[in-house]
């Protein structure tokens, strides 16, 4: 808890300009957070549409879904879940570090979050690669013969669409976190102003949230 070495070389606190249409810095910060929450609302509905498609197709082809999901590797999916949860912890700790004005510690936690995100995508790559190899591809590209039930290609359409869109969101999150890392390195943030890191954290937690629902629905059907 004692942090003697970290903050010794901090320069003066970064002061962020408050735009004229806000009452004060607090009002500006609250508005930024509200904006991000509204965006997260749209993201919930975006993935919600895909979850609805999942629900419909699963209700139409329950046995096929059960058979097809066995092609997925539960171990890799579980590891990915653990990786994302850990990345959420490090993201939250990055924000907390900047609440204390600890620049280097913030950069450390942001880097850790990035690292876990990369691990997530690497594991995803191996999962996809295996499916491509077997011909378990979405929709009209599907050629694998080993799954019983009608329309097995539908499961993989749903799988690739949902995990693919989620993966793109992970990539976007990584870009945002990288930007935060850069700006932290340039001493743009302080214990008084760290709003961009905070809203990036909100986005990243939502990406984790979506995966928390994706994982049991795709990997743990029974």
């Amino acid at each position: 808890m004692a942090d003697r070495t970290n903050a010794r070389f901090e320069t003066e606190q970064a002061v962020h300009h408050v735009e004229h249409h806000f009452y004060d810095a607090e009002h500006q910060r609250d508005s930024a957070k509200l904006g991000m929450w509204v965006f997260l609302l749209t993201e919930v509905l975006l993935f919600g549409g895909l979850f609805c498609a999942y629900a419909i197709y699963r209700s139409w082809y329950p046995e096929m879904f059960y058979n097809a999901h066995q092609a997925l590797d539960v171990t890799m999916g579980t590891i990915n879940t653990i990786v994302l949860i850990t990345s959420s912890v490090t993201m939250a700790l990055a924000i907390r570090s900047m609440q204390f004005g600890r620049r280097k510690q913030t950069m450390m936690f942001l880097s850790a979050t990035l690292l876990f995100a990369i691990v997530f995508l690497i594991i995803k790559y191996f999962e996809y690669e295996h499916k491509v190899h077997l011909g378990q591809l979405p929709g009209k590209f599907y050629t694998y013969q080993g799954i019983e039930g009608t329309n097995p290609h539908i499961f993989f359409s749903v799988y690739f669409m949902m995990t693919g869109l989620h993966g793109l969101h992970v990539l976007g999150g990584m870009a945002a976190i990288s930007l935060m890392l850069y700006r932290t390195a340039r001493n743009r943030f302080s214990s008084e102003y760290y709003t961009p890191i905070e809203v990036t954290g909100l986005y990243w937690h939502l990406v984790d949230l979506i995966w928390i629902f994706l994982f049991p629905l795709l990997y743990l059907i029974s």
Binding site: W37, F51, F100, T143, P216, L220
Partner: protein, 147 residues
């Protein structure tokens, strides 16, 4: 505890224990989810899985995303998204599930244009046929109707 070199935000700072504790709880719940999935409770399985996922989501939202401590407006926005999502899925599934009561539906159609239904049982992966023939419907078991 205000340190000499640490500056301190005026905003509410959660203790480290809370973040680590919630993280640990999330990992435990993940293990529980995987463990429970091996049992077959029929329709109950998905309820249990979604229930655990909802608890994990609440932990992330209330603590990592600070919803518990923040302005209630953010919670209203987030809860609103879940309400509309619920309306979306519930009404859609209600309609989908009960369509057979209104229309003559024997079975859901096979997507005959799918590539797998263009191959013969002997071949594995083949090239996409140039012309998709509507007559080459699969002779699948039983009562399916194709397009």
């Amino acid at each position: 505890m205000k340190k000499e070199h640490d500056t301190l935000s005026q905003h509410h700072i959660l203790p480290l224990k809370v973040y680590l504790g919630v993280g640990a709880a999330l990992l435990v719940l993940t293990a529980v989810t995987v463990w429970v999935a091996q049992f077959h409770f029929g329709a109950f399985n998905i309820i249990v899985a979604m229930g655990i996922a909802a608890i994990k989501a609440s932990l992330v939202a209330f603590f990592f995303m600070h919803l518990f401590y923040d302005n209630k407006l953010y919670f209203a926005v987030f809860a609103g998204s879940l309400v509309f999502l619920a309306i979306f899925i519930v009404l859609t599934m209600y309609d989908t599930e009960r369509r057979a009561e209104v229309y003559e539906i024997e079975a859901h159609p096979i997507e005959a244009k799918a590539l797998i239904y263009q191959t013969t049982p002997d071949t594995a992966a083949v090239a996409v046929p140039e012309h998709l023939d509507a007559d080459s419907l699969p002779t699948d078991s039983g009562s399916s109707r194709g397009h």
